[in-house]
């Protein structure tokens, strides 16, 4: 039965899966949870993006609490014995969850996570076992995990200060156009010195420095430039909060040692705030799940 909630007993995490978890590097500290399939989509095609997508609802975790999840599938087999894991796929990364797109009062249901597998055989009727782990990012669990910085368009020249940034060992500075220009000159001089040290003649140095400068980071209109030190990879994401209090999602790109932020929601205005979300110990929670007998569409 597709809509039947497939409940797992905590004791199901047996010796074999534990060894699989350890092998995948994510076995420790995961709390087993009940999971049920809410959506399943077997996209079979002769063109691109053939895959089986499954959404799982996690019992006991509110959708509004989870803003991102990283799912690691440890085992997925169909009833013909087919292995549905894509062993060629790149390592999973955090993806925003449905709850992150909804207002807190509209995200009252259970947290939902998405995962993709290879297409099962047409002869398969069920997925006999789907087993995995999910790391949930729950920023509401730590008041210091989200830092808001008003007036970021008028940088003071000093790093942004917040309790959370300090505790996470993160340093963020807003780089003004003048500072960026100074950084460019400094980098150009270092480049010229390096070329000279390598014995290049003046013409070659001139040409190569010009080339270096022309390819140096140039922000697009409305892009915010940051200098970021994040040795522990604690920054989860950046966002803007506009004058009306709406979160504007940010596209962040890294180049020449700078982080550039832009948004489709418009050019940041003076009353906007920069929002930095951090992965702190309190915000991270790991769950494990096992779902059996998933009927295929």
């Amino acid at each position: 039965m597709f809509k039947t909630a497939i409940t797992i007993a905590l004791a199901l995490v047996t010796v074999a899966p534990l060894s699989a978890q350890t092998k995948k590097g994510g076995g420790s500290g995961a709390t087993p949870v009940d999971a049920k399939v809410s959506q399943i989509h077997d996209r079979r095609t002769t063109t691109s993006f053939a895959q089986l997508s499954i959404s799982l609802e996690l019992a006991g975790t509110k959708m509004s609490d989870v803003s991102a999840a990283r799912v690691t599938v440890l085992k997925a087999v169909d009833d013909t014995g087919g292995d549905l894991l894509d062993h060629e796929a790149s390592a999973p990364d955090f993806s925003p969850t449905t709850g992150s797109f909804l207002r807190a009062d509209a995200a009252g249901g259970p947290a939902s996570i998405d995962l993709t597998l290879k297409n099962p055989s047409r002869d398969a009727k069920t997925i006999t076992e789907l087993r995995g782990e999910v790391e949930l990012y729950m920023p509401s669990k730590d008041p210091d995990a989200v830092a808001l910085f008003p007036k970021f368009l008028s940088p003071s020249g000093k790093p942004l200060a917040s309790k959370g940034l300090k505790a996470s060992g993160v340093e963020i500075s807003i780089v003004s156009p003048a500072q960026l220009d100074a950084e460019k000159k400094k980098a150009s001089k270092a480049k010229a010195d390096e070329l000279k040290k390598d014995g290049n003649d003046a013409d070659t140095i001139k040409w190569m420095v010009e080339s270096f400068e022309s390819s140096f980071v140039t922000p697009d209109k409305g892009e915010i430039v940051l200098k970021v030190k994040d040795p522990g990879k604690k920054i989860h994401e950046y966002a803007f909060v506009d004058g009306a209090g709406e979160t504007q999602r940010v596209y962040a790109r890294e180049t020449d040692g700078f982080v550039l932020l832009s948004t489709f929601g418009g050019e940041p205005a003076a009353d906007w705030k920069l929002k930095v979300s951090l992965r702190t110990a309190k915000t991270m929670s790991k769950r494990s799940f096992v779902v059996k007998g998933i009927e295929l569409p």
């Binding site: 989509h41 077997d42 996209r43 079979r44 095609t45 297409n119 569409p297």
Partner: protein, 300 residues
């Protein structure tokens, strides 16, 4: 790519060249190929999935064909399941859209099915076969709010009116979903057995669509109105300056209410006073219907 090049098991002989040229009687074959198969199998709430075939036409006669569409007559999988239970024919698609790909949407085959069979007709629009496919209307500002007069329109028994902004606004007002109209629609839907929930949803959707399609059209927009069946025969619209150059038309939208369709054509610039509106009409004489059968289309 196991099954992306399933070639139709038939050969079509079209006398396109002869018909278009009037003298040459060269025969040209048109083939049908399945370029892609996507079996999208879902269980997302109440939504199911569908199977889509991307079909391309092949052969030397293609250059004569302006537009085409595929009309499915039957489709079954190798387990005997019927994948096509009828429906409205799709719109014609210009040959230069989507690299000439035509879509066919069917029900999902059985999960255990391995192949399917589709039969139907390919309808080809060959404008060179009929001079009445092209209607040119000049002096546009003098032809507002009365049925357009043209030999081809008369021959095809089509009544199409170019509306002034004022008349368009009046029509929009008449069609507005007011309380009386909503009550009328609600009563009608109730009579047809729809639930209150379904009716509410339909009314909300209608209101939203009206919001989208309402308002005053931009300056320079051309508005055509007529019976739905008549405007459905318009396959193409061009706007030509006196020197023969074309004003691009980035947006063209239609809305239908009570059997009457209004088409709003928004050129990239206001049309000059001496501009000519050129309509391409679907006519029986310019249409060719060619049967096809695709056997053993392998499922992914």
């Amino acid at each position: 790519m196991r099954n992306t090049r399933t070639v139709a098991s038939f050969a079509l002989i079209l006398l396109v060249a002869a018909a278009a040229g009037g003298s040459a009687r060269a025969q040209s074959g048109v083939g049908v190929e399945v370029k892609a198969v996507s079996d999208s199998r879902s269980r997302v709430g109440d939504f199911g999935g569908s199977l889509e075939l991307k079909i391309v036409l092949t052969g030397s006669a293609l250059e004569k064909i302006g537009q085409a569409r595929v009309i499915v007559k039957s489709a079954t999988d190798d387990k005997g399941n019927v994948l096509w239970k009828g429906g409205d024919p799709p719109d014609f698609r210009p040959r230069d859209w989507n690299m000439g790909e035509l879509s066919v949407t069917l029900a999902n085959p059985a999960r255990a099915a391995k192949s399917l069979r589709v039969a139907g007709t390919v309808e080809l629009f060959v404008p060179a076969k009929d001079p009445n496919t092209v209607v040119k209307i000049d002096k546009l500002s003098t032809k507002l709010d009365k049925p357009l007069s043209a030999k081809a329109l008369k021959a095809e028994k089509l009544s199409i009116t170019l509306l002034s902004p004022k008349t368009y606004a009046e029509k929009q007002g008449q069609n507005k979903l007011d309380d009386a109209k909503i009550a009328e629609l609600r009563a009608q839907a109730k009579k047809e057995g729809a639930s209150d929930k379904e009716i509410d949803a339909a009314i909300e959707l209608a209101k939203a669509l009206q919001e989208l399609g309402g308002g005053t059209p931009p300056e320079g927009a051309l508005i055509l109105a007529g019976k739905e069946a008549d405007l459905d025969r318009i396959l193409g619209v061009r706007l030509l300056k006196a020197d023969g150059s074309e004003v691009s038309i980035p947006s063209r939208s239609s809305s239908t209410s009570g059997g009457e369709t209004v088409m709003v054509i928004e050129p990239s610039e206001p049309p000059p006073a001496d501009a000519t509106l050129e309509l391409t009409l679907l006519t029986k004489k310019a249409t060719m219907s060619v049967p096809f059968e695709l056997k053993n289309v392998e499922l992914p």
